[in-house]
């Protein structure tokens, strides 16, 4: 572990440190944030950032720092959930196309083309329109919307794994299709997807926030970043902190995860 850490580049280390910070914020926001994120205090509304309220307070006098920190949980949860849904669908579709023979491949290929030609956001909007607003619907919407993109990747990875030398070597050694799939193809594809998923969580967080901005995200008073942004943005000119900080956290989280995902991609390529 130490040796591996030493081999890491500064950017990787930065990614890891940031991720740890993020995880702490998601798991135990109370450790750092001293205020109750839901506690209203109308008389303390719109206070600029200060020693007491690091990120200022919002229109209900709630502490923005606490809210942002507590928001990590739902935002990251949405990101992860969306990714899980998206990748889950993608693996099913991609596996069907990559391993299911020509007909299945053709059918899935057409389906993906169809899904690709429908704007991502529309798929998300329709999902929300059907499911209603909330954390899970938000995640489902983003997941369903991004699934075709990942399905394409999974498909091509399945195909390239299937055509790889190691699969051929396994066939020559007399391994059955099931064994080859279980021991070689799936583990290799899934290992790559892990990096991809990390990249995707960041983007999913961003997408989910966009839904919130359009008024379709998480139901108040949930401390999700997108919802906070949507609520704080009207006060952009008078209380900039309500827009800047949640936004910065979205960027920060998405960037951290992207950084990490890229590191993992590079590592798996180097291996």
């Amino acid at each position: 572990m130490v040796a591996r850490l030493r081999a890491a580049r500064p950017a990787d280390l930065l990614g890891i440190v940031l991720l740890l910070a993020l995880l702490v914020a998601a798991a135990a926001p109370g450790l750092v944030a001293r205020h109750d994120p839901y506690e209203i205090e109308p008389s303390a509304a719109f206070q600029a950032p200060s020693a007491v309220h690091w990120f200022g307070t919002d229109e209900s006098g709630r502490d923005t720092f606490s809210r942002v920190l507590h928001g990590t949980q739902s935002s990251v949860l949405i990101g992860i959930l969306a990714m899980a849904i998206g990748l889950g669908l993608a693996v099913v579709l991609g596996a069907l196309a990559g391993l299911g023979g020509r007909l299945a491949d053709y059918a899935v290929g057409r389906l993906l083309e169809v899904l690709f030609s429908v704007p991502v956001l529309l798929v998300a909007l329709l999902t929300i329109a059907v499911l209603g607003a909330g954390v899970v619907p938000s995640a489902a919407a983003v997941g369903v919307a991004v699934a075709p993109g990942y399905a394409r990747i999974v498909r091509s990875q399945m195909i390239s794994a299937r055509a790889s030398g190691y699969v051929e070597a396994a066939v020559v050694m007399g391994r059955s299709r099931a064994t080859v799939l279980r021991r070689h193809i799936l583990p290799n594809v899934v290992a790559r997807l892990f990096a991809l998923a990390t990249l995707g969580v960041g983007q999913a967080v961003v997408w989910a926030c966009s839904l919130s901005f359009l008024g379709l995200g998480v139901v108040p008073p949930n401390t999700e970043w997108g919802a906070m942004l949507a609520a704080g943005r009207p006060y952009l000119t008078n209380a900039w902190w309500l827009t800047i900080f949640p936004g910065a956290f979205i960027v920060f989280t998405a960037a951290t995860l992207t950084l990490l995902g890229r590191t993992m991609q590079r590592r798996s390529r180097e291996r």
């Binding site: 506690e39 109308p42 229109e59 209900s60 139901v219 108040p220 609520a231 009207p234 008078n238």
Partner: protein, 521 residues
Amino acid sequence: ACGGDAVNASDQPRSGGTLVYATGDDEPTCLDPQKGGNVAQALLGTQFLQTLFYQNGSGEILPWLATGWKQAADGLSWSIEIRENVKFSDGTALDAEAVKANLDRIQAPQTLSNTGRLALQKIAKVEVTGPSTVRIDLHQPDGALLESLAQVWLPIESPTAFARGLDANCLKPVGTGPYMVESWTKQDSVTLVRNPFFTTPPPDAAHTGPAYLDKIVWRFVPDGTSRFAALQSGQVHVIDVVEPQNAAAVKGIPTLRTLIAARPGEPVELELNSGRAPFDDIRVRQAFFASIDVDGALRSVYLGTVQRATSLLSSATRFNVAAPPHVYDPAAAAALLDQAGWSSRDADGYRTRAGKRLSVVLPYSRFIPLETGFYEQLQATAKKTGFEVQLQPLETAKWWSVNNAWAYDAIPVYYTKNSPDVLRITYTTAALAESTPGSYHANTAHVKNADLDRLLEEAGRSSDDGRRAELYKQAQDLLGAGFYTLPIHDQQTRLAHQTKVKGLRLQPSLAMPDLYDAWIA
């Protein structure tokens, strides 16, 4: 309650120019307010449509497209004189036939009028009695008839234009106002130009003759931040639906000014569905009101720019009776709930009765002028007493469905109307519309009270102001004692404009902006 910039005498009004108005209200689906009938239509319609009567700042009815009127002794018939030599902007003449055509049209079901139709419910028939006189026959006396006919939702439009069909009329209604519709680019803007046939300025206008402005571009800018930024950067001249924080900011900007006035009717209020549990119990309703800190919310969310409403009628409506507002009193609320049997609490701190949580469904929508922060504070304070408030942000159409289906416990509403008769429309048993389920019902609080019905019916029939005042007071007291409605703040017209825009005023009947006198310095 309303007013305009006093036109500075040293500034000579200047003709010409294009005024850009950015509205934050929804884009109408039809420019003809006879169809449907909402505020968005009224805002635009005020610029190119006019009514038979005009209501001035003190609530008096003045002639406008009508020149005179006479009520029969039994109160069941009105005869109205129509102004002569008035032309619609398509060049056709206004006459008695045209007025009858309009009143009939509003009542016809295929017109799909809502606001107008409700206002004319008491009309039995309209008859042309001369080239410039009509007679309106009623089922029962209607003290609010003239007030109704002074609302832009009941405008007099060109019957020639009606012949084009409902949809065509929606695109380009033809009226007698100072401007006329030139074009409508959906989801962008409506362009209005000066009406060359215009002869009928509002009675309290600052000038006569044609409007000053060549053109008005009425842009739909739903995003409040962008709207205000556009005003600040000089890109637009006037904006409406100015958000409180921006209204506060205008005070520090010398080139900008606000123009804010209450609209008549019922204020923005929270109504409790007394038709189902838990709010079928008056104690629970009372406890709910006592567990909400309205004042605190208004002060913080609205930065003190909005006054608490104290009456069931807007401060701009005649006969409103100020009552002491409900105060935030968690202790009293707790006591009431204990009495009502909601005495135990569950793990999340919410009150329960017989294993059922004290839960309140509150659907709201963006078009109701209350900020998200207000709902959140309501939710947070009510939680302390043990109410679980389930907020449901909904899109407009969905919100109406929920409303029509009675699927709410508390619901924010408002009703714009220039008459205390609004109470009859929204609180009588008839307004429950129980005979047709899934239908619109104005009685959102589900009030079913024969005494109240009687009071409001009589008030609606009466034309004696003294009697009306008495009846409306009794009605308001009765409603107040029932804890159905929590008034929050008056619905307002909230404009901000460049100081170089002069002569901007509001028409008192509905407090709609009127750009007839407006000019750009």
